[in-house]
């Protein structure tokens, strides 16, 4: 547990215990997601909490505030820590207490968030990278801090420092899309949307001014931009003009609605009689996305009334977790010669004739090289720089909440 107090009134540590018992009541999975909303009221404080990689970030306030300011700030803290330590877990934080304190000190003062942009923070507080560690060993103790103040803090481009230099000038963009689809029990696709992000990783020197064009920007329903994107240009010409931050950043996120179909179909059939449910789940490709669909996993979370399961598949592996009652069918890729099929039966508790609560099947998959919405990057142009830029684009589609109800 690490605390940082900003206000005159000390917050007692016991609040964490209170929160913990609320979020993880005894008898529930201690490592599961918290069972309370992100914003709750305790008898003494109003608490805002987020959980990232098993680390809980908790903010307490006594007065009215903007809840999203609190949540966003905690998210940024988590992001910044992850960026600094190359990950986020208890041990990393324990190893770097001092650094965490320093960061928090610069990120907030007196309850008001200040600098949260990683590239600026890095100028004030050096990350614990390999180079600086080696340096301090070799030179015998030069400070790992830069003692100069960040130049960008007062420049017109607050997300980018002046005088950045890289030997290889390169910039990469990842189009990451996530499918959100629900198929109802009659087999209709009731909802299908794609949320996408354009993630950038920039290693460019100087102050490059970039223009990113899409071939088909009109399919996007709604967008959110990193502050570096000039909104007027998007409004007028539907392209992104920006001076990128250095390192990794999320350039934009978008939503594409009204997709007609999912690349995969999953057809479940359940029939009950005399305490036994016969199960038959078929999986196949509905529309070929052009690339292989990988990492296909089908999860069937059975209700607690199910006692045992005898399920087999003609392809992939099937696991039934008897404590959570989740049946996980790992398919991987769909073979060319047959369509994967899960068959078998599950048994219900004694006394139950048929299934009252039907499970919702969750399907996960991944397609490399394709953005399912069809969004394509056309070209990247650059200005204000004299060197050649190596550019790279990738796309990936993931499904994390593709639901099939039965």
């Amino acid at each position: 547990m690490l605390e940082k107090q900003w206000m005159g009134q000390q917050v007692d540590r016991s609040i964490c215990t209170w929160f913990w018992t609320q979020a993880h009541p005894p008898g529930h999975d201690e490592f599961g997601p918290p069972r309370v909303p992100a914003v709750i009221a305790s008898p003494t404080y109003y608490l805002i909490s987020i959980v990232r990689e098993g680390v809980t970030f908790l903010a307490c306030t006594l007065s009215e505030m903007q809840p999203l300011l609190g949540i966003e700030f905690l998210c940024r803290v988590a992001d910044v820590l992850a960026e600094y330590f190359g990950g986020l877990n208890e041990d990393l934080i324990k190893d770097n207490y001092v650094l965490v304190y320093q960061l928090l000190d610069e990120m907030m003062d007196s309850g008001f968030p200040l600098t949260t942009e990683p590239s600026i923070l890095k100028e004030m507080i050096a990350p614990p990278n390999f180079v600086s560690r080696v340096l301090s060993v070799v030179t015998g103790g030069s400070s790992s801090m830069s003692s100069t103040l960040p130049t960008a803090a007062s420049s017109n481009v607050p997300w980018r420092a002046l005088g950045i230099k890289h030997t290889n000038n390169e910039i990469y963009f990842d189009l990451v899309e996530e499918v959100d689809a629900i198929v109802n029990k009659d087999g209709f696709l009731v909802k299908c949307q794609v949320y996408g992000e354009v993630q950038g990783n920039s290693r460019l020197s100087g102050m490059p001014d970039l223009t990113l064009n899409f071939t088909n920007p009109s399919i996007i329903s709604d967008v959110r931009f990193h502050p570096c994107v000039r909104y007027q240009d998007w409004e007028a010409r539907q392209h992104l003009k920006f001076i990128p931050p250095d390192g990794q950043f999320k350039l934009m996120s978008y939503r594409v609605k009204g997709l007609e179909n999912t690349p995969l179909y999953v057809k479940p059939q359940l029939s009950c009689s005399e305490g036994v449910v016969r199960v038959n789940i078929l999986v196949g490709i509905r529309i070929d996305p052009g690339r292989t669909i990988e990492n296909i996993v089908v999860d069937v979370p059975w209700p607690p009334t199910v006692t045992t399961a005898e399920l087999t598949a003609n392809h992939g592996t099937v696991l039934f977790n008897s404590s959570t009652k989740v049946c996980t069918w790992t398919i991987g890729r769909i073979p060319k010669d047959k369509s994967p099929c899960l068959t078998g039966s599950v048994n219900l508790e004694a006394g139950l004739d048929r299934l009252h609560e039907f499970p919702t099947i969750l399907v996960g998959f991944k397609i490399m090289g394709v953005a399912l919405s069809g969004l394509k990057v056309d070209k990247l142009e650059y200005d204000n720089i004299a060197y050649r830029v190596y550019k790279g684009f990738r796309a990936v589609t993931k499904a994390t909440c593709y639901e099939i109800r039965t």
């Binding site: 069972r35 914003v39 009215e64 949260t116 109802n184 607690p304 609560e357």
Partner: protein, 842 residues
């Protein structure tokens, strides 16, 4: 690590630190750093390392930045507990405040201000004054926040040194946006606390909302960091622009903030937009259209925590203007993985946005949740189907669902369904045929929950004609009287048996006897009394008993809402705050007095720092208004558990209820004494033009006390209207031509109601639920011809005709009322007005 061990280790650390203190040997900084790190990590895990204080301070003479920072951290942590020792640190901190490196100046100043030791305040003022004039922006911004910290420790030394004035000057003229933002932050907090005691500070705070300040902030808006933008937007949302043009200009400047990656900025911008346009009904509606997409994206693409908080805000907007979100209902479909508090919000939104075109899909979706593993959500979704059924007209679809629910043969689903059917029947008695057919198949044995049982029993009594086996089912219930634990069910059973008796005497007479004798012997006073009352009534005359026990029923038009529209408005005013997430206005939860006593882990500081914690709303001038608010809502809360947790602790609420009671009893028509209070509130209430007076106040008292027989000859104060009047267009035209205008009425729709009035249909439907039918309507301008008829008037008489014209830009509605019996026109005008005022706040 046991205690001894730890002591040993601390002593060792102490020794090592002492050795290093004076040393100038090369590499000593590294050793120091290692030791400091150890100390800090002890401190973090909660080990008391305060005994090292003097050694730590001694070692602090260093040029190493990291060491300095660690030392500042250590000192900041223990200074409050050890003020004498803290004095030791002042010297080196003050020295550092004049270092050449601005970073060190800033850090030292911040640490100095964070010591929070009262008797060291004198050492603070000088460095702060210098800091505010520093050439470096970083130092100035630290100093600006430092002023706030100084204020919390010693308010007088802050104000005496004219710090607020300096801050204000910096706010307007500093070149560094972060300095400006920090000044704004400090000033707001200082002035709102100071405002509690000083008029001047209050005026000063008002002056922050002056046009010049707002414009200077907006002009350099894009320079601010995202967090500063949130702060500025919060201030801007309180500003009232001079004219419509200025509003538009401001919105133009801020428009792209809606696309910002930071959800806090988006929400703050939305708040500004909503507040700027409160008085411009047509623009307000466009704002809803504009903010819809960003909000929906935030909900579905952000992290789970953001999504929940945004969803709470979206929920508020959906409840205010459900029609605008009608086509987005799919966004409110629950995901399997959503936590149940999110599902609950979504269910409520799905219920609210249902209209003719999407009811089928929504009800289908809700029915799927009824099979959900989460029982609470399954119940909620059945209730949601019920609420939709009460709003809509698609009987067949709903009845199909009901059948489906009952077929699931799950106790709680059956129970919820029965309650739902009962409510449906109370509102739409005309559906009895379909509904009873559904309920008829329910086996009374499978119903165990008291609410469901009471509902079933009520239906058996009410529809004894339609359900052939009603008396026999009731008999079964009566026979197991002794096993029935809930008085609620037994009460209902008595009434049902009696009603059944009036309808089918030969079959029921024996059961009635049995039920009454069980009732006499019942331990519950209410049950006993009701049995006795029925018995005496029946003894007196069966006819009179029937008139009392089973009078002809008026279909319920509107069920009591769960949260009053005042409270909702209040929460709306606090958009983008915790209030929205908690769904209570902040005065309900921020008031310390109302909360259970708790121990502050506070020492001497608390008495001084105390006033900092309440929010900005806590100005004294607000408090009266707030009390009134609370009083007003207190009686409303009695109907609604949802909000009741904020109401305890106000003993005067009872008195107010009494006041309200007398108001409504003696002056039900004239503007009641509560009216001025209502208008005095911050919430924009329609300036109602009440233009009629009551029939007879005394009669109203009779009614309230239950003295008047229910079949009273006089009309009830709320005019009883025929729910389904029939009038063909030709007769309407003729009547309109013949009659003269009996009354005119003006009403201004509040902006949030106008949001829903995109076309005539919503109002037409709303008025139908209030027994006012539409004859014709037009869209440009919005114009309606309504008619209504007295409940028990003979055919073709007792009609009221209304012409209603709504000006969309201002929300002004003017009505011309004509009536067959013009003496009733004022009473009707009143019902019309109350019906109009409910529009948009359901």
């Amino acid at each position: 690590m046991n205690a001894d061990n730890r002591k040993g280790e601390l002593a060792e650390l102490k020794g090592q630190l002492r050795q290093l203190a004076g040393s100038r040997a090369p590499g000593v900084e590294d050793l120091k750093r290692e030791l400091y790190k150890k100390v800090i990590s002890y401190l973090t895990v909660g080990i008391d390392v305060s005994s090292l204080f003097s050694e730590m301070v001694m070692c602090s003479a260093t040029s190493d930045l990291v060491l300095k920072k660690m030392c500042y951290l250590y000192v900041g942590n223990y200074a409050r507990g050890y003020p004498e020792l803290a004095l030791l640190t002042i010297n080196f901190l003050q020295k550092d405040c004049q270092d050449d490196d601005p970073m060190i100046r800033g850090l030292a100043l911040r640490s100095l201000c964070s010591l929070r030791v009262k008797n060291l305040v004198e050492y603070l003022v000088g460095p702060l004054q210098r800091g505010l004039k520093d050439s470096n922006g970083y130092v100035r911004s630290v100093a600006a926040i430092g002023v706030l910290k100084l204020y919390h420790i010693a308010p007088s030394s802050c104000t005496d040194n004219d710090f607020p004035v300096t801050l204000k000057a910096l706010l307007l003229h500093d070149s560094d946006p972060q300095v400006v933002a920090n000044c704004l932050c400090s000033l707001l907090e200082i002035l709102s606390i100071e405002g509690n005691v000083s008029e001047a500070a209050l005026r000063e705070k008002e002056s922050l909302l002056h046009r010049n300040v707002i414009l200077s902030l907006l002009n350099r808006f894009k320079e601010f960091s995202e967090w500063a933008q949130c702060l500025v937007l919060e201030v801007v949302s309180k500003y009232v622009p001079e004219d419509a043009q200025e509003t538009h200009d401001m919105m133009d400047v801020l428009d792209d903030r809606l696309q910002h990656a930071n959800s806090a900025v988006v929400l703050a911008t939305i708040k500004v937009f909503l507040h700027l346009t409160m008085s411009m009904a047509d623009v307000h509606q466009k704002v809803y259209e504009r903010i819809k997409a960003p909000l929906l994206t935030l909900v579905s693409s952000g992290s789970a925590e953001q999504s929940y908080a945004v969803l709470s805000h979206l929920h508020l907007l959906v409840m205010r203007a459900p029609m605008l979100f009608a086509s987005d209902y799919k966004h409110f479909y629950c995901r399997y993985s959503d936590p149940s508090y999110v599902k609950k919000l979504k269910l409520e939104m799905l219920t609210a946005v249902a209209n003719e075109s999407n009811t089928y899909e929504i009800v289908t979706e809700l029915s799927e949740y009824a099979a959900n593993v989460d029982v609470a959500i399954a119940r909620e979704s059945i209730r949601a189907v019920g609420k939709i059924a009460l709003q809509q007209y698609d009987v067949n679809a709903i009845v199909d669902r009901l059948l489906q629910f009952l077929e699931m043969e799950k106790d709680y689903v059956t129970a919820e369904t029965l309650v739902l059917v009962k409510d449906l029947l109370r509102k739409y008695p005309q559906w009895s045929h379909d509904c009873i057919a559904v309920v008829g198949n329910v086996s009374s044995k499978s119903v165990t929950e008291p609410k469901a049982k009471a509902a079933l029993v009520w239906m058996l009594g009410e529809y004894a004609y339609d359900m052939s086996d009603a008396p026999y089912v009731l008999e079964g219930f009566v026979q197991s009287w002794a096993e029935e634990d809930f008085a609620e069910v037994r009460l209902e059973l008595l009434t049902a048996v009696a009603k059944c008796f009036f309808k089918r005497p030969p079959e029921t007479v024996q059961i009635l006897g049995a039920a009454l004798s069980f009732g006499f012997a019942d331990a519950n006073q209410d049950v006993h009394d009701r049995a006795l009352l029925y018995y005496r009534l029946l003894q007196h005359s069966v006819e009179v008993a029937e008139r009392v026990i089973n009078p002809p029923k008026q279909a319920v038009s509107v069920f009591a809402g769960d949260q009053s529209s005042e409270i909702k408005d209040r929460i709306f005013d606090e958009f983008n705050s915790l209030a929205v997430v908690y769904r209570q206005p902040s005065y309900m939860f921020l008031d310390k007095d109302q909360r259970s006593p708790f121990a502050f882990s506070e020492d001497t500081g608390s008495s001084i720092i105390g006033p900092q914690s309440p929010g900005r709303e806590d100005l004294p001038s607000d408090i009266d208004a707030r009390d009134n608010d609370l009083l007003l809502s207190a009686h409303e809360k009695e109907d609604s558990r949802a909000v009741s947790n904020g109401s305890h602790g106000y003993s005067s609420s009872k008195f107010h209820t009494l006041q309200e009671f007398t108001d409504s009893a003696f002056a039900p028509r004239s503007p009641s004494p509560t009216q001025p209070i209502r208008n005095a509130r911050a919430t924009p209430l329609p300036p109602a033009a009440v233009s009629s007076t009551a029939a007879s106040p005394l009669l109203a008292v009779d009614d309230l006390l239950g003295l008047g027989p229910s079949a009273s000859a006089e009309p009830f104060p709320p005019l009883k209207l025929n729910p389904k009047p029939v009038l063909d267009p030709a007769s309407f035209k003729r009547k309109w031509g013949q009659l003269t205008v009996a009354l005119t009425l003006e009403y201004t729709f509040p902006a949030q109601a106008m949001v829903g009035l995109t076309g005539p249909q919503p109002l037409v439907r709303h008025m139908q639920t209030n027994s006012v039918q539409c004859m014709a309507s037009g869209n440009a301008p919005l114009k309606f011809f309504f008619f209504a008829q007295l409940a028990d008037a003979p055919a073709n008489t007792g009609f009221f005709l209304v012409e209603l014209v709504v000006t969309t830009s201002s929300g002004l509605a003017s009505a011309k009322i004509k009536a067959d019996d013009s003496s009733l026109a004022p009473a009707f005008a009143d019902s019309l007005q109350s019906a109009l005022s409910k529009f948009g706040s359901l």
